[in-house]
């Protein structure tokens, strides 16, 4: 939680100097919302993406964030992130990423990759290069490992889409190598796209 707040603080803090003109007298029209760019270099940066709960309540109400489910954490070696005032969305590229996928607010898998791309508007996290995903096993279960070149975590749909040289290894056997595989975040359901149906 501390890391989440730190991440938000970093974004807002860095962006505030660009929006200092907002303090102008009210006689002049307010500035148009603007996008800001935050670059972290050589530092570890952590933040979380969120999706709406099943009740589809808004992300933020008068009482603050409510009914939110954590979708993923990202830790990266460096990042180039954009923040848009109007939509309150962020997106951008990250290098040397690792983190955790969440399903119903529970950690289900950890991952690492050469680079990543996050887009809060679509709740989509893209991972590229030496992608390595390991499930967080429940009691009496063993972990399952997925490796591939590219991966997309569609947190809204709770689907992991893996591309190019996809291999899934678990105690029950090995799937692949294959060109494209879709799976549940726990990797207990693995299929080619045409046969995949959401659990």
């Amino acid at each position: 939680m501390l890391s989440i707040l730190l991440g938000l603080f970093l974004l807002i803090g860095c962006g505030s100097k660009h929006s200092a003109s907002k303090a102008k007298p009210s006689a002049t029209p307010p500035d148009e919302p603007m996008s800001r760019e935050v670059i972290t270099n050589g530092a570890t940066f952590t933040r979380s993406g969120y999706v709406l709960g099943k009740n589809k309540k808004p992300l933020v109400d008068a009482a603050g964030p409510t009914k939110l489910e954590r979708a993923y954490d990202v830790r990266c070696r460096s990042s180039d992130l954009h923040y848009d005032d109007a939509s309150k969305n962020y997106w951008g590229d990250m290098e040397g990423v690792s983190g955790t996928f969440y399903d119903k607010d529970e950690p289900v898998a950890t991952y690492s990759a050469d680079s990543g791309q996050a887009d809060k508007a679509t709740n989509l996290l893209r991972l590229r290069g030496h992608v390595h995903l390991v499930t967080v096993p429940k009691p009496k279960e063993t972990e399952t490992t997925l490796t591939c070149d590219n991966l997309e975590w569609h947190s809204d749909q709770r689907i992991v889409k893996a591309f190019i040289r996809v291999t899934v290894r678990g105690s029950k056997g090995t799937i692949g190598p294959m060109d494209e595989v879709w799976g549940s975040p726990t990797l207990n359901l693995i299929a080619t796209p045409d046969l995949f149906s959401k659990p």
Binding site: E141, G173, T174, G176, P177, I190, A191, T192, L195, F196
Partner: protein, 244 residues
């Protein structure tokens, strides 16, 4: 099935692999599943049964059981038997070809649909749609072909011992062609046919006709109520019992 079509499932499986289709290999490598499209559902803790669904150019292979199933679509379940993984149940549709290899003999079942169920000490295959069962034994130099619209077969459990095909029953109009090791053929037809490998008998009932040709010593029998052909270990018809 002509010789050129015999390799069609192998060709389809090779094409599926070349196009980057679905492939699954069990942890011990004793079960492999290949297809253009596929799905595997891994069970939660406490269950050892996992489901699969395969589509287009399907090949499901169980090395322990000596079973290879090729078809357009196969759905089924895998399970653990000790350290081994086996196909517990499979329903194959569309150009089905099931090959059972055991103890030097190969039995091939083809048809439009096959429902395979592992029963521990044996496996049951219920077939329909232009069923054809052939047996080739390199040891006995024996070959026979059974055809009919539908039927069922009981297979032995293991790949290396026992008879691959224990019994086969065809109903709705059956025909058996027995190629004799010393030359000649025996062809028999009837409404129902039962092959029992352990008893070495082929039993036909309902409008039975049996005809020997070539070097076969069997003559011609027409419209019998029931006929039992007794075979020796080489697959030669050595005796027949007829009731009319």
């Amino acid at each position: 099935m002509t010789k050129s079509y015999r390799f069609l499932p192998l060709f389809a499986a090779a094409m599926a692999a070349a196009q980057g289709g679905f492939s699954y290999t069990s942890s011990a490598g004793d079960v492999t599943l290949n297809a253009r499209s596929g799905l595997v559902e891994i069970p939660a803790a406490g269950s050892s049964v996992y489901k699969f669904k395969l589509r287009t150019g399907v090949t499901a292979r169980s090395r322990k059981d000596g079973i290879v199933i090729s078809a357009s679509e196969v759905t089924g379940e895998l399970t653990s038997r000790g350290k081994d993984t086996v196909i517990r149940h499979a329903v194959a549709t569309g150009g089905v070809r099931l090959v059972k290899t055991a103890n030097g003999s190969t039995n091939t079942i083809t048809g439009a649909r096959a429902d395979y169920t592992d029963q521990g000490s044996s496996a049951l295959v219920v077939m329909s749609g232009g069923v054809r069962i052939t047996s080739n034994s390199s040891v006995k130099r024996q070959m026979w072909v059974i055809t009919g619209p539908s039927g069922q077969a009981v297979l032995g459990p293991a790949a290396r011992k026992g008879a691959g095909l224990r019994t086969a029953t065809i109903s709705g109009g059956a025909r058996v062609d027995l190629t004799q090791p010393r030359g000649g053929n025996v062809t028999a037809t009837g409404r129902q046919l039962t092959l029992d490998q352990a008893a070495r008998t082929v039993t036909l009932s309902g409008g039975v006709t049996v005809k020997g040709s070539g070097a076969s010593s069997f003559g011609t029998l027409q419209n019998a109520q029931r006929a039992v052909l007794r075979l020796n270990e080489k697959g030669e018809v050595v005796a027949s019992e007829v009731s009319s």
